[in-house]
């Protein structure tokens, strides 16, 4: 035999090994450690870049999000919006249908709501108006979800590209309606709709302006939990997501499930457009969705499609947004610094999921090995 190359390689320094199933307690422990690490890294960065005291930066972040009752409610409002979109995305992603079209589905829902407010605002009794707005936003969102699902089911088109393209149609459509409903003339915005009559605005509930937002979204949360975990349709979604062959074998009509699920997904995203317009902004513009359609994907996956866990991650992201905006204005930093902080924190939160699934094994030092051998 030919001579072999001499190998004096050492054991690898770090090895990645898959863990057994981790208890929920330990998993949350890992996540909290991840968050703390993120805060430490951010602190070092803040100090290095701006020479500011990290503690005071964190304090003002917190104040930005929860400093006053008004701010707290704004954070809650934003978290509820994000949560609503995430709930809409959950069934689609659970079915492994890559719905990245939530942005468009929110917009068309918002446009439908705004249209109802503008044309019907003074022609209908309030309860009926809300029913119409509610239904219109759901229908618009459902249509936006159904179209790519139909083509996927019938012709096997790629839903990622399709839903993405639907976003652009929705954006252009919104621009069109903004121009149509422009007020005052030449401003290129719709302005506050029904600012005198407040027709089609959410009324305060329990004395809180955003009370209805919270109630509606929490009801959807509970409903979605039972739908996904305990209903027959939720079971079908899981089976289709795992393997279409298994679904066919089980007698599930795969096409129907794809279309039905995307109608539900689009409806809820459309509904969040309704909440955004009637319950928060009272206006419509191409930035009404504001990237939530994409941020919600992170929320849905991080929560592993558990609606109750989504509440936590929605709040985390809404908090980061508010806090980042506050430090940007208070310390006169430019927006990018706060975006960096947001990025670092998200990186660590996502990274902790890695450590929940895997663990690292380090090479033992020679001393340790010697000590072990002596025993």
């Amino acid at each position: 035999m030919s001579h072999l190359p001499q190998t004096h390689k050492k054991e690898p320094l770090v090895r990645i090994v898959k863990r057994d199933a981790v208890s929920a307690k330990k998993a949350w422990g890992i996540r909290i450690i991840g968050l703390l690490c993120a805060l430490v890294v951010c602190a070092v960065l803040i100090f290095a870049l701006t020479k500011l005291n990290p503690i005071s930066v964190y304090t003002s972040m917190f104040r930005g999000a929860f400093g006053t009752a008004r701010r707290s409610w704004q954070t809650i409002r934003d978290a509820m919006m994000l949560l609503c979109v995430s709930l809409g995305l959950a069934p689609a992603f659970m079915m492994r249908f890559w719905n990245i079209g939530a942005e468009g589905q929110i917009l068309v829902g918002g446009v439908a709501t705004a249209g109802c407010m503008i044309y019907l605002g003074d022609k209908m009794p309030t309860p009926l108006l809300f029913v119409v707005m509610f239904a219109a936003s759901i229908l618009a969102g459902a249509l936006w979800g159904f179209v790519p699902a139909f083509f996927k089911a019938k012709f096997g088109t790629n839903e990622t590209l399709f839903t993405l393209m639907m976003n652009y149609i929705a954006i252009q459509l919104t621009s069109y309606f903004v121009a149509l409903w422009e007020k005052p003339f030449g401003s290129n915005t719709v302005g506050i709709i029904n600012d005198r009559t407040n027709a089609g605005w959410f009324r305060p509930l329990f004395g809180q302006q955003y009370g209805w937002n919270v109630v509606i979204v929490l009801l959807i949360t509970i409903g979605m939990y039972f739908y996904l975990r305990h209903s027959k349709q939720g079971y079908e979604i899981q089976v289709v997501g795992e393997s279409e062959n298994t679904a066919r074998y089980a007698g599930i009509n795969v096409r129907r499930v794809i279309m039905r699920t995307m109608i539900i997904s689009g409806s809820i995203c459309g509904l969040s457009g309704f909440i955004a317009v009637a319950g928060a902004g009272h206006t419509i513009s191409v930035s009404t969705a504001g990237g939530r359609g994409f941020t919600a994907i992170i929320v849905a996956w991080l929560s592993k499609f558990n609606p109750f866990v989504m509440i936590i991650f929605s709040f985390l992201l809404a908090f980061l947004d508010k806090g980042a905006a506050e430090i940007a204005s208070k310390f006169n930093l430019n927006d990018h610094v706060s975006s960096i902080l947001k990025g670092i924190i998200l990186f660590f939160v996502l990274g902790s999921e890695f450590f929940i699934t895997y663990k690292l094994i380090f090479r033992k030092s020679e001393k340790e090995i010697a000590a072990k051998e002596e025993k």
Binding site: L4, E11, P12, K232, Y235, V239, S243
Partner: protein
């Protein structure tokens, strides 16, 4: 060049664990140049894991590996190649759109530009030396399974491997192809190479190897010379207790027509006729075997009956209801409609986790895969499924951390127990199984044979698609042979011989 007792690899005290599962415990193994070593063991006995540590895929938790009597650290597949160790995995690692030659040099990084002619020349040289037959310019997607395997072997030889590890190389081959593979292996041995074959098939161990190393439940049992071993002695070492090698076969009790298949033709997406006017009957209380080289239409046959396959015009599958005597046409239906017709049809498909079960779900949720929609409620009823899962867990001795552990995490044999358990629990009148014991160890295989025999006794019409002729001949009452989508013969399982069936399997039209 080689002397018979020159050690190629020595493993000492090698241990590997995955979480709480011990895959290999304190293994000592010795591999020599110029010999064929069989690594024998049941499913989940740790054969592949052990060899993966030699090929650099896993790193041992403890123990030491020596190559040519020198201690080595194998940290990556590249280290393994540097040590001239090459492994041919059970699932081929080839790029479909590349040619054979491109796959061979892929990742090799020889430092200069890719010289097509030179590579082709060296490939042909290797082929000529050992008796392989591949075309360096052929694209992988147009290759048969056996050609792909040949390519994998040539690939490691091209990289200069002296120690070859083959993981279950015969699982996907026909009898003739296996013979060819064995002659190549013998040529490599004559050339002084060291060949390790991972297998659980005893006849192959005896046919090709010089020594046999036996693993059981992750532990090393012994290494014996093949010439001193018999099927029985190896089985005893492999399973730890004596197992009866005979499969029971009762006489048919109550034979009644249950399924009448007529003119079943299936044309696949590429326009190829995969089933060509198939007609046969299946009776209650009988096991009908289906033999044939894989890919001769077995899959399409079962899926057509199960309502999962589009069939050509004129096909007919009539089910005779044992209770009402009614005749029911199954063509043009789907699994849901078949259930609604009141036909208790159970089907154990070939692709267990890709079709029969949902890998990410636990046993409980897999139990309700076919009947989850029963009843009017919008919500799932988990109680019954849970009870069924617990019953199957104890009756079939399924090894799992819990009934809610995703079935994907179970070993192959346990996955099959879950699937077969569910299908039998549905009280079928027709039971179809495709390669029900493929990749299963002897004990689990016998569990399955016994279950099938019980079903036969209780009057079920069983259709058993198999690949092992010995088993087909011992288990089945009749054997239908498929070749190229046509029936080449239906023989009596009690009187037919292996040669007779083998000839029908390759009969030309």
């Amino acid at each position: 060049m080689s002397n018979e007792y020159k050690s190629a690899i020595r493993m000492e005290g090698v241990t590997k664990t995955f979480g709480s599962v011990i895959a290999n415990q304190n293994i000592n193994l010795d591999i020599r140049y110029g010999e064929v070593l069989s690594l024998l063991g049941e499913n989940g006995s740790g054969k592949t894991t052990l060899m993966n540590m030699l090929s650099g895929i896993y790193f041992p938790d403890a123990g030491q590996i020596y190559v040519n009597d020198e201690p080595v650290m194998i940290r990556s597949p590249k280290d393994a190649f540097d040590l001239k160790i090459g492994m041919i995995h059970q699932h081929f690692k080839l790029v479909d759109v590349f040619t054979a030659a491109e796959n061979i040099v892929l990742g090799l990084n020889e430092g200069k530009r890719y010289d097509k002619k030179e590579v082709a020349r060296r490939v042909r040289e290797i082929c000529a030396k050992y008796g392989f037959d591949i075309d360096p310019e052929q694209k992988v997607y147009s290759m048969s399974v056996s050609q792909k395997q040949t390519l994998e072997i040539v690939k490691v030889l091209y990289r200069g491997a002296d120690i070859l590890i083959l993981d279950e190389p015969t699982a996907v081959l026909t009898l003739q192809e296996i013979e060819k593979l064995f002659s190549v292996i013998r040529n490599m041995r004559a050339d002084g190479k060291s060949v390790v074959i991972i297998t659980h098939k005893l006849n192959e161990v005896l046919a090709v190897s010089d020594r046999v190393a036996i693993l059981r439940h992750g532990e090393y049992i012994a290494t014996v010379d093949t010439k001193d071993a018999t099927e029985l002695s190896l089985t005893e070492m492999m399973v730890g207790k004596k197992v009866e090698l005979d499969i029971a076969r009762d006489d048919i009790a109550d034979k009644k027509l249950r399924l009448a298949v007529k003119d079943l033709t299936v044309v696949n997406g590429d326009g190829i006729t995969v089933l060509d006017h198939i007609s046969f009957d299946a009776f209650s209380g009988e096991i009908l075997g289906v033999a044939g080289i894989s890919g001769c239409g077995q899959k399409e046959l079962l899926e057509s009956i199960a309502g999962l396959q589009k069939t050509a015009e004129g096909a007919s599958v009539v089910f005779s209801d044992p209770e009402s005597g009614e005749e029911k046409q199954l063509i043009g239906t789907n699994p849901k409609k078949i259930r609604e017709l009141g036909v208790h049809l159970s089907f154990v498909p070939e692709d267990r986790l890709g079709m029969g079960l949902v890998g990410s779900m636990g046993m409980t949720e897999n139990m309700m895969l076919k009947n989850y929609s029963d009843g009017k409620s919008l919500f799932l009823d988990r109680k019954q499924s849970k009870a069924l899962a617990e019953r199957i867990l104890t009756e079939l001795e399924v090894v799992t951390p819990g009934i809610n552990t995703p079935v994907r995490r179970l070993s192959g044999g346990n996955v099959q127990k879950v699937l077969v358990g569910r299908e039998i629990a549905a009280a079928p009148t027709v039971l179809m199984t495709a390669y029900a014991v493929r990749g299963l160890d002897i004990n689990t295989s016998y569990t399955i044979y016994n279950l099938l025999n019980e079903q036969k006794k209780s009057g079920v019409a069983v259709i058993y698609v198999g690949e092992d002729l010995d088993v087909l001949l011992q288990l089945c009452d009749r054997i239908m042979v498929l070749c190229g989508g046509k029936i080449t013969g239906i023989v009596d399982g009690r009187t037919a011989t292996k040669e007779q069936v083998g000839a029908l399997m390759v009969k030309s039209h």
